[in-house]
């Protein structure tokens, strides 16, 4: 639109209604469901096989709404980790969401609190990636937060349905599923594509070495030590920024 915003910001982009933004958010996210749905299904199956009952496995999807953290929780439940270690590990794995939060915050600053709460709940790797393409495109239409809502709702629906299918069907399927290998393989599928720099490789190597050395520690505390060692190694190996 080239119309000057004579009537104020609310009419700056009359062509981009809330409904238009919402549905383009849904459409932009839809292709990602191809990866998310099998992933959610596998979570449902593995959560049941880890000894998590169906209600709790579904509740985790609704309450956490965080794939990697839910897999991690299933793994730690199966390993008999201390509750506090599970919470700390999930907090650590989900720390990256603070960066997403910082990055979308300027675009949501004008919204009422209920919008901030809802959009924060829906802020995941996928919805963030999709919504930032829209929020960062320079068009500051006042309805643009509806795009993030559409992407978030689409992802949320797909995730809940996929995990529910996994929980229901998984109760019969996985009697012989090698659970102790399935979860690590899933994490490999998530982590390896992220290793695209020497610093990232250093983080992985340091975390792996410390994890082996500390594997005998009680309550999976070695996991936290290894994770912190990896994070520090990555930061130290990262090229210094010019000041």
């Amino acid at each position: 639109m080239t119309t000057p915003a004579l009537a104020g910001p609310a009419l700056a982009h009359p062509g981009r209604s809330a409904a238009h933004e919402f549905w383009s958010g849904v459409r932009d996210l839809a292709p990602l469901l191809l990866g998310v749905v099998p992933y959610g299904f596998v979570y449902g199956v593995l959560a049941r096989a880890s000894g998590i009952d169906a209600a709790a496995a579904l509740a985790a999807s609704a309450i956490l709404f965080a794939g990697a953290a839910q897999f991690l929780l299933a793994q730690l439940v199966a390993a008999g980790a201390l509750g506090a270690v599970m919470v700390a590990a999930v907090a650590l794995v989900n720390l990256r969401h603070a960066l997403y939060s910082a990055s979308v915050a300027p675009h949501l600053a004008h919204l009422p609190l209920r919008w901030k709460l809802a959009l924060s709940y829906l802020l995941t790797d996928e919805s963030y990636a999709v919504a930032m393409r829209r929020l960062g495109d320079g068009d500051r239409s006042p309805s643009r937060h509806w795009h993030l809502l559409g992407a978030g709702v689409a992802l949320w629906s797909g995730w809940q349905l996929a995990t529910a299918a996994g929980v229901v069907l998984g109760a019969r399927v996985p009697a012989r599923l090698p659970l102790d290998v399935a979860l690590p393989l899933t994490f490999i599928a998530i982590a390896v594509p992220m290793i695209r720099s020497r610093a990232m490789l250093a983080a992985a190597i340091a975390a792996g070495i410390v994890a082996l050395a500390a594997a005998g520690w009680p309550w999976q505390l070695g996991l936290l030590a290894a994770s912190l060692a990896g994070i520090l190694a990555g930061a130290l190996a990262a090229p210094r920024r010019a000041r």
């Binding site: 990256r96 949501l108 901030k116 924060s120 290998v181 690590p184 070695g222 290894a226 994070i231 930061a235």
Partner: protein, 101 residues
């Protein structure tokens, strides 16, 4: 701590993380050291889970042996690097696990 309490606590922590800077309305940016550490969190944490899970014998009785698990992990890592697909990575990893054990 019961599993339900753990799930609720994990949910609260996750939600608080996502809300953090949104609630601050973008008035404050994440501190620099925090931004420098954050990119390494997922890879470090996931590796810290994966390596001992594959390189140490399983607690259960009839699980696959360590060499087969390591072979499956190596195959999965190669597939993940090339395909970036979770289902393909799992399928390839399980195939190698089955062949090697």
């Amino acid at each position: 701590m019961s599993l339900w309490l753990v799930i609720l606590a994990c949910g609260a922590v996750t939600f608080a993380t996502r809300l953090s800077f949104v609630a601050l309305e973008g008035r404050r940016a994440a501190p620099g050291w925090f931004r420098e550490l954050l990119p390494f969190v997922p890879v470090a944490t996931l590796t810290a889970i994966v390596v001992p899970a594959l390189a140490r014998p399983a607690a259960g009785g009839d699980a696959a042996g360590v060499p087969a698990r390591l072979a499956a992990g190596a195959a999965a890592a190669a597939l993940a690097a090339v395909t970036r697909s979770v289902p393909l990575t799992l399928a390839g990893g399980f195939l190698v696990l089955w062949l090697a054990s």
